[in-house]
């Protein structure tokens, strides 16, 4: 499918042949296209890692910053100009490891951004070390006796910290993944979508087929607005549920909505002027 987000020179990517990111690129372009967004009004904030290279291959605004830091950058972009559609995107190591503290506090702030995390349970760009989501016993060149730490569960963490939209997708289920990305972008407030996205070079355990066999699509009868049920659903492992795990029924004020600067004037910061008269009053002679 041709989309307005296609970056012509972006065909030669830095990803390995067969990488799940290729599928995700197509899914994301499809979602953005179907949302009828204008590429000049969308920004992707990304960090470092193979996943974080995503905006390099899109016709879109981006801030490709540092490892782990996509969320604070995205929060500030949305705060400075609420008219923009803002997406933070990166891998599990980037977002849950290096950026773990930002993950927690961004959810607490609740900026109106979509948070897309490629989850392949391994570090790709640094060549195969454990990630926060790697499973116990996973052997790597560093974790030579296998991973000893508990795998990080982004879904239950996000729900318990107060996220109002939490979903999981799998690149092997393209139609659902596209719809979930659209729903995440459309959600008013912070929206997490953790996407299983196999690494073909460094994870020989959690392969495309492994994900296929160890996931299932959540039944239509499931009520995602039930927080207790969502915590239970999000904690399920092998098979892992795919779909909207939690979506709060009532609107929660976003970070931008609570900023005093937008109380009376919705215009973004770049369209405003300093008030010299008020400024002069800061240096009273009386």
């Amino acid at each position: 499918m041709n989309t307005r987000f296609d970056f012509v020179e972006g065909k030669n990517t830095a990803w390995c042949p067969g990488c799940g990111n290729m599928m995700l690129l197509a899914i994301l372009k499809g979602a953005l296209e179907e949302l009828n967004l204008d590429p000049t009004r969308v920004v992707i904030s990304s960090g470092i890692g193979q996943a974080a290279k995503m905006p390099q291959y899109l016709r879109i605004n981006y801030f490709n910053g540092l490892h782990g830091r996509a969320l604070p950058v995205a929060t500030a972009i949305k705060a400075a100009n609420p008219e923009l559609t803002v997406i933070a995107e990166g891998g599990d190591g980037d977002m849950y490891g290096e950026g773990g503290n930002h993950f927690l506090h961004t959810i607490r702030r609740n900026p109106d951004i979509a948070h897309i995390v490629h989850n392949n349970m391994v570090y790709g760009l640094t060549k195969g070390q454990a990630s926060p989501t790697s499973q116990r016993g996973f052997i790597t060149p560093v974790q030579v006796y296998g991973v000893a730490s508990e795998p990080f569960n982004p879904l239950t963490t996000a729900i318990s910290v107060g996220a109002t939209f939490v979903a999981r997708a799998f690149v092997g289920n393209q139609g659902q993944a596209r719809e979930l990305i659209k729903a995440a972008i459309g959600h008013k407030g912070y929206a997490l979508i953790d996407i299983f996205d196999p690494c073909v070079s460094f994870n020989k355990i959690n392969t495309f087929n492994w994900y296929k066999e160890n996931t299932y699509v959540i039944d239509a009868s499931y009520d995602p607005s039930d927080k207790a049920a969502a915590l239970k659903k999000g904690a399920e492992e092998a098979p892992y549920p795919l779909g909207i795990i939690y979506r709060q029924a009532e609107h929660k004020p976003t970070f931008e909505e609570q900023l005093a600067v937008y109380e009376k004037d919705p215009s973004p910061l770049h369209r405003r002027q300093r008030n010299s008269e008020l400024l002069n009053k800061l240096m009273p002679s009386e």
């Binding site: 910053g65 540092l66 830091r69 500030a76 503290n101 506090h105 005093a260 300093r274 240096m283």
Partner: protein
């Protein structure tokens, strides 16, 4: 009779409310037409301990700390021994409902022990001590009674008529007590002082930021840099500033860069330890070519060091922070009006050249209060340097100046692609060696078009000895130079510490003897000057115990150095 100047020190515990007295008396002195300067030193605790404030009133402009104490007002029995070396037989010690140790009378000091018990009980408690002391100062310093009453009224208005009246009674009691004491002080008034503004170093940075168009600040609290965050928070609604307390300094600096990217004018405020965490963001600003304004309020390190004390020990940190080569500018204001204009300039320079600009201050500078000339900001409009993009916009277009027109997302038809990886003109990752070199060269030539803030030469132009200082030592060195009264010595004051300004070489070359004066242990700026000018610094006057230089100490150490 104290005619030219007087130094009054208030000594109390944390939580006793010395700041109430400070804030009232400084405005009162200004309204009454006196030059005054107030500096503070305090312990890292919320209650107890010993904190002092020094109030200097002078017939001339004053902006420095002195050791000498003419009048010591003790609000707490604790900690006076810390001040012993600063007492002389001429010192008058007033115990405000506090027993003054007998040894001070033995030293020859005049000791006045005030029993305020009855008065305080009648007023409603020891909380009124501060206002009684304010009344005493009003009388001792010959401030206007009516102005003092007016200040009390406006200060306590919100708390109701009864409290206003009680405080007015306390004020009058203080005035009456001081009249009986027969302490002759007659400082000449300065007609210009009343038209000035009394403000702290913290407020100066805050006002400068708003003047620079700051509309976004993200920071993590750390003394002594937090005051700027609190000041901008206080002004946020009126001046349209987004204020966010970040989860850590790493988030703070990344938020600042995200904000600039989206068209805001943003800053962070921190101290050395917080800036250490921001280092990666500093380098990020260098690579994505983002404007950045960083206020670093220095305190003594290493590590946690002395959290509430002062030092100039972080020049090397900001000078070298960040992996790779990229341009930066570092300012270190020495007086409050310069702090305002330099902070304002920091935003403009950061925006114009798309570089990080660092403001280096310190605890002594920020917590001091002085008199500043008013500035009319309507004469300096903000020029936002971002452009409306066209469809073929390239964020890192190679230009002769090295500065690429800066687009922001959502304004124009182009895409704004900022990248921390080495990138091509359109902001996409590249590993092309020629492009890499072109991008480094482009970034490094950006400052070719920058005009230095040249050092200020104070004293005789035909000097043979040159004192060199930067930042908060300005006032003390100026006053010491004046007291030395020698036409062979001058003072070169640097408020731009990096890049080393172009006129520095000539200024340094003329001197046969160059003496750096720095509030740190190794003479960081002196070493930078030697490296950049290839001229030797002959002597270093350094202090790193956590306190600022006093005027007397500088006179003594400069004279000592000259004879060696």
């Amino acid at each position: 009779m104290l005619k030219d100047q007087v130094s009054i020190v208030l000594s109390g515990e944390a939580g006793q409310g010395l700041d109430t007295i400070e804030s009232l008396i400084i405005i009162l002195l200004k309204k009454s037409g006196f030059n005054a300067f107030l500096s503070r030193e305090f312990m890292s605790r919320i209650r107890g301990g010993n904190n002092t404030s020094e109030i200097r009133v002078s017939s001339e402009k004053v902006h420095a700390f002195v050791d000498k104490i003419d009048i010591l007002i003790m609000l707490s029995p604790q900690g006076a021994d810390r001040l012993e070396t600063r007492l002389t037989p001429a010192t008058i010690i007033i115990g405000a409902n506090v027993a003054v140790p007998a040894k001070y009378a033995e030293m020859g000091c005049r000791v006045i022990a005030l029993d305020l018990e009855e008065k305080l009980a009648a007023l409603g408690g020891s909380i009124y001590t501060n206002i009684i002391v304010t009344g005493m100062l009003t009388s001792l310093l010959a401030c206007d009674d009516a102005s003092a009453q007016e200040l009390i009224r406006s200060r306590f208005k919100a708390k109701g008529e009864e409290l206003v009246n009680k405080n007015l009674v306390a004020l009058q009691q203080g005035v009456d007590i001081a009249r009986e004491l027969d302490i002759p002080i007659a400082i000449e008034r300065d007609a210009k002082a009343a038209a000035k503004t009394a403000l702290s170093g913290t407020e100066a940075i805050g006002i400068g930021a708003i003047a620079g168009g700051c509309n976004f600040i993200a920071s993590y609290p750390m003394s002594p840099g937090t005051g700027v965050l609190a000041y901008l928070a206080k002004q946020s609604k009126e001046h349209g500033i987004i204020v966010e307390q970040a989860e850590d300094e790493i988030a703070a600096i990344n938020m600042m860069l995200g904000a600039w990217y989206a068209g805001a004018r943003a800053m962070v405020t921190t101290s050395g330890g917080g800036f250490a965490l921001m280092t990666e963001g500093m380098s990020l600003a260098g690579c994505v070519e983002s404007p950045a304004v960083i206020h670093l309020a220095q305190r003594p390190g290493p590590a946690t060091g002395l959290p509430t004390r002062t030092e100039q020990g972080d020049l090397n940190l900001v000078l070298y922070a960040g992996q790779g080569d990229f341009p930066r500018v570092i300012y270190a204001p020495g007086k409050f009006d310069d702090a305002i204009t330099l902070t304002q300039k920091a935003f403009d320079v950061a925006d114009q050249f798309q570089i990080p600009v660092i403001l280096l201050t310190d605890q002594y500078f920020l917590d001091s209060i002085g008199m500043t000339e008013q500035i009319d900001f309507s004469k300096s409009a903000i020029v936002n340097n971002f452009i409306e993009t066209t469809a073929d916009y390239q964020r890192y277009a190679l230009t002769p100046s090295g500065v690429s027109p800066r687009g922001i997302p959502g304004y124009g038809k182009g895409l704004v692609c900022a990248d921390s990886d080495e990138h091509s003109e359109n902001g996409r990752i590249t590993e092309d060696f020629a492009m890499r070199v072109a991008m480094v060269d482009k970034r490094m030539r950006k400052l070719d078009g920058y005009k230095d803030v040249e050092p200020e030469l104070i004293g005789n132009k035909d000097y043979s000895t040159l004192l060199i200082g930067w930042g908060s030592t300005y006032g003390a060195i100026c006053e010491a130079l004046k007291l030395l009264n020698r036409d062979d010595i001058a003072f070169a004051f640097f408020q731009q510490v990096y890049p080393v300004p172009s006129s520095a070489v000539k200024m340094l070359e003329q001197a046969q003897k160059r003496i750096v004066i720095e509030n740190n242990a190794t003479g960081q700026f002196g070493k930078l000057l030697e490296m950049e000018t290839l001229l030797k610094v002959h002597q270093k006057i350094l202090k790193y115990n956590g306190m600022p230089f006093s005027v007397e100490e500088l006179v003594e150490r400069i004279l000592g150095g000259l004879s060696s």
